[in-house]
Symmetry: C2
Subunit: 210 residues, 2 copies
């Protein structure tokens, strides 16, 4: 936390923006430094997200997750490839039908709500994610906005936690990038994020997914 | 209603867009014609607004109301001027302090929520509007989004009602404009809309405000 407090304003904003791609949120949280510990940072991050961030700011954060369009993308992300094994997806499934259905639901969700399906997918199978999107699709846009914002905050908190507990915490953001931090992998609307230090990478890709 | 049903698609969309400046909403409602009567039109308009319009679509409609910035604007709109007496505001107040406070609250509201204060001001005094904005300002953005959407729908319904019951209903939109329909007057975030037929104009500005 000391290092995070010591970052320049720009460095802090950049780190925060990687957790949650809403500029005003990142600026406000950076401005609230120094934090005593991770709890006070998390509480402030929540407060700013839920009470001080505009709806347009939430949509900005959702749009920060790139779309991945077709079944091929889903396959690549779920199964990984030899040449991009560090991107091997954590949600493993061999069920072609599940992936196809997920692709269809993601498309329908995006069409209805105007933003991708946001879910904190840590520890969830593709089948679970599919069942979640089926449950959420009939919601009104206003209800679903709150769900998506809640999932985005879970993702943000997981990224925050990973950042503070990883070796990367002892480094500046630019150093972290050089030492192999992997972030913001996205699977057609489901947000995967892995912050891996060099040590974690060496340890056979112990993935932290948010 | 027959005339509304008989409008070209473009004419219908233009009329609907004047009631509620959300393109996808106007398109969907226009596509749902013919309507049997005003109730079926209103029900469909509500259904599309609450269940099928994205949050970005709501924000688009809110942004359709131009901002009016300073105290001078408020005065002009509340009190009217000889040379633009047709714009004489319906909410009358002589209380400079109320107008100043309203201007300040409107600014604070816009800053917090990222969109203007939407209220269906029909029959409300400036003091009532001020008291409403004071109540709503502490809300979370998500709560306030629903409030603003509800007020927008009230405005839309009032415009719809005025349109269907006015002489203008027997005319095309372009004819209505020529015969002096006045619409979409805005007072620093409060939405005023008066659909006045030529007859109503002649009747000493009996204002219908939504």
């Amino acid at each position: 936390m000391e290092r995070f407090n010591a970052f320049s304003h720009e460095e802090a904003v950049n780190v925060l923006y990687e957790w949650c791609a809403c500029r005003s949120w990142a600026e406000r949280v950076a401005n609230a430094r120094p934090f005593e510990n991770s709890s006070t940072l998390r509480d402030l991050a929540r407060q700013v997200w839920w009470r001080e961030t505009t709806v347009a700011g939430w949509l900005e954060a959702f749009l920060g997750h790139p779309k991945i369009g077709d079944l091929e993308d889903l396959h690549r992300k779920f199964h990984g490839k030899a040449e991009d094994s560090e991107q091997a997806a954590a949600l493993a499934t061999n069920d072609q039908k599940v992936l196809q259905e997920l692709a269809n639901y993601n498309r329908a969700y995006d069409e209805k709500f105007g933003h991708i399906f946001i879910i904190c997918a840590a520890g969830k199978s593709a089948e679970t994610v599919l069942s979640e999107i089926k449950k959420r699709l009939p919601n009104t846009p206003h209800m679903e906005l709150a769900n998506a914002a809640g999932e985005q905050m879970k993702i943000t908190e997981a990224r925050l936690h990973n950042f503070l507990t990883s070796r990367g915490m002892a480094e500046t953001p630019s150093m972290q990038r050089r030492t192999g931090q992997i972030h913001s992998h996205l699977v057609q609307g489901m947000c995967f994020c892995r912050h891996l230090s060099a040590v974690e990478l060496a340890a056979k890709f112990v993935l932290l997914i948010d």
